[in-house]
Symmetry: C2
Subunit: 134 residues, 2 copies
């Protein structure tokens, strides 16, 4: 057991936080955390990001109800990235209606192909189409 | 099929790239890519990062031989993060000798606990202990 200081300085006060489904192992999304959002995530047991575009804390699921319950928090060797293994409440985490934000495959010509089915209708959940968050 | 422009500008020319074992689903590491490293990754079929600390392209496995063969490349909804599903050559990706860089669990008091076994002896593979890369 060692004390670890997360290296927030390497990326201007933020660290990337990978969100992984703790049961399936699927990667659901990537967000960023600052020290306050990490502390709030640890305190509440539900994922709180820092939104770069809105420049404020962003509780995942605040409008959709699709919160991410933390099952395990891991830190990498350099302490500059987090892996958050979660139980995702609801049908999907993506504001476009997919289970995972990584629903597109990229080919070498820069074309993206959708490789998953929509899990919910975003307009029903969010009221209107959401803009960028992360 | 749609053309997608990766949003490198949101983080100063870089996007985070999550490396996931395509068989087990385990998250192995997180690196950053700029447009050149992404193009080189796509061209060669092996992961090339951009090292923020060394400020240059960093071919994963260049010294260890532990290259990451790309099996599938995914992009997220906002096109500002990549998920690279790989076949990892060798016993592990971490310069500290572990299979995954996420070998430590973080508790709410800021303590980290090692939850995996070393897969190789880093000094044997690298010659000497490596510093930070990402």
């Amino acid at each position: 057991m060692e004390s670890v200081n997360i290296d927030f300085e390497k990326a201007g006060g933020l660290v990337p936080a990978i969100i992984q489904d703790y049961r399936s192992g699927d990667v659901l999304m990537l967000g960023f955390m600052n020290s306050v959002s990490l502390a709030e995530t640890q305190r509440s047991g539900e994922v709180v990001f820092f939104s770069r575009s809105r420049n404020k804390l962003w509780k995942k699921g605040e409008s959709s109800g699709h919160v991410l319950k933390v099952r395990e928090l891991r830190v990498d060797c350099d302490a500059d990235a987090l892996l958050v293994r979660v139980e995702a409440i609801g049908p999907g985490v993506c504001h476009e209606g997919y289970r995972s934000c990584f629903f597109r495959k990229l080919d070498s010509n820069g074309h993206a192909k959708i490789i998953d089915e929509r899990a919910f209708v975003p307009e029903t959940v969010y009221g209107q189409k959401q803009g960028k968050r992360a």
